[in-house]
C-alpha cells in the first residue's frame, strides 16, 4: 500500500514529542511532558517515543507514526481544554479513514457524546471506523 508523504506540521509535532522524551528544558517542556505522559499509554506510542525518527522500528511508516501521535496530541488538548480545530486540511496527507477518526473524535469531545472519546479514537484507529455503538451524540431533549 502506498502511504502519503508526511506533512510538515505533523513532522513538527512528532519532533516535539521526540524532544520531550529526551527531557529538553524549554518553555514548552511542560506541555511536551504532558504529551509524553498522556500518549505513552500504549505500546505503539511508547515505541514511537523511544525511537525518534525510526518509525519502522515500531512497524510503522512515518505517516502512520505521525498520525498516531496526532491522535495522542488531541487527547492532550482535550485534557488541557484547548480548542479543537474544525478544518482538518492539515491532515490532508492522511488516509480518509484516519481523518474521519480524528474528526469524529473532535466532534465527540466538543459536543459531549456518550462514551469515552479517547477510547473510541483508539478503537477507530484499530478498526478504521468509528464505533458509533460506543460513542455517539446525545439527545438535547427527549
Amino acid at each position: 500500500m502506498q502511504w502519503p508523504s508526511i506533512t510538515p506540521g505533523l513532522l513538527c509535532l512528532w519532533g516535539a514529542l521526540s524532544l520531550g522524551c529526551s527531557g529538553s528544558a524549554t518553555s514548552a517542556a511542560g506541555r511536551r511532558d504532558a504529551y509524553a505522559l498522556a500518549t505513552c499509554a500504549d505500546t505503539v506510542t511508547c515505541c514511537i517515543q523511544r525511537n525518534p525518527g525510526m518509525p519502522e522500528a515500531c512497524g510503522l511508516t512515518a505517516s502512520e507514526a505521525a498520525s498516531h501521535m496526532a491522535g495522542a496530541k488531541m487527547a492532550v488538548d482535550a485534557a488541557e481544554g484547548a480548542p479543537a480545530e474544525w478544518d482538518d486540511s492539515h491532515n490532508a496527507a492522511l488516509p480518509e479513514w484516519r481523518r474521519r477518526c480524528i474528526r469524529a473524535y473532535d466532534d465527540c469531545r466538543e459536543y459531549g457524546w456518550s462514551g469515552s472519546c479517547y477510547d473510541c479514537l483508539r478503537s477507530c484507529e484499530g478498526q478504521q471506523s468509528w464505533p458509533e455503538d460506543q460513542c455517539s451524540p446525545r439527545r438535547k431533549k427527549r
Partner: protein, 126 residues
C-alpha cells in the same frame, strides 16, 4: 437510545475471519452472534435464518453485517461533522438536510435512530 448494541464481538469475528483469514467455525455462539447482529443491522430474521443454514450463507451474513456497520458509521460520522459545521455557520436547513440524507439511505436501526434524534433536536432551530 431504545436498544443498547455492542458490535465489538462481531467486529472481532470479522477481523479474524475476513481480515486475517482464520477458519470460520459456525458453532452455536457464532450462530447466535450472527443472528442477533443481523437484526441489529436491519436484516430480517427470515433472511438471517436462511443464511445460517449453510456455512457459505453464514459467512456472507458476516460480510454483510460488517459492511453495514462500517459503511453506516462512516456515512453517519461524515454527515454529523457536516451538520455541526452548518450549525456553527447558522445554516440549520443544511444541518437538517444532512440528517435527512442519512435517513434516506440508512438501513441500520441504530444509525437511523441517531440521525432521527439529531434531526428532532434541530426542530426548534430557525
Amino acid at each position: 437510545m431504545s436498544e443498547k448494541v455492542d458490535w465489538d464481538p462481531l467486529r472481532a469475528l470479522a477481523r479474524k475471519v475476513i481480515g486475517e483469514g482464520a477458519p470460520f467455525v459456525l458453532d452455536g455462539d457464532v450462530r447466535a452472534l450472527l443472528r442477533r447482529t443481523a437484526r441489529e443491522v436491519g436484516i430480517s430474521d427470515t433472511d438471517a435464518a436462511r443464511a445460517l443454514t449453510t456455512e457459505a450463507g453464514a459467512l456472507e451474513l458476516l460480510h454483510e453485517s460488517s459492511r453495514r456497520i462500517t459503511e453506516g458509521s462512516n456515512r453517519l460520522m461524515d454527515a454529523l461533522h457536516r451538520m455541526y459545521r452548518h450549525q456553527k455557520a447558522g445554516d440549520f436547513d443544511s444541518a437538517r438536510q444532512e440528517m435527512r440524507d442519512v435517513l434516506a439511505v440508512e438501513v441500520v436501526p441504530r444509525y437511523r435512530e441517531t440521525a432521527q434524534g439529531q434531526l428532532e433536536d434541530l426542530e426548534d432551530e430557525p
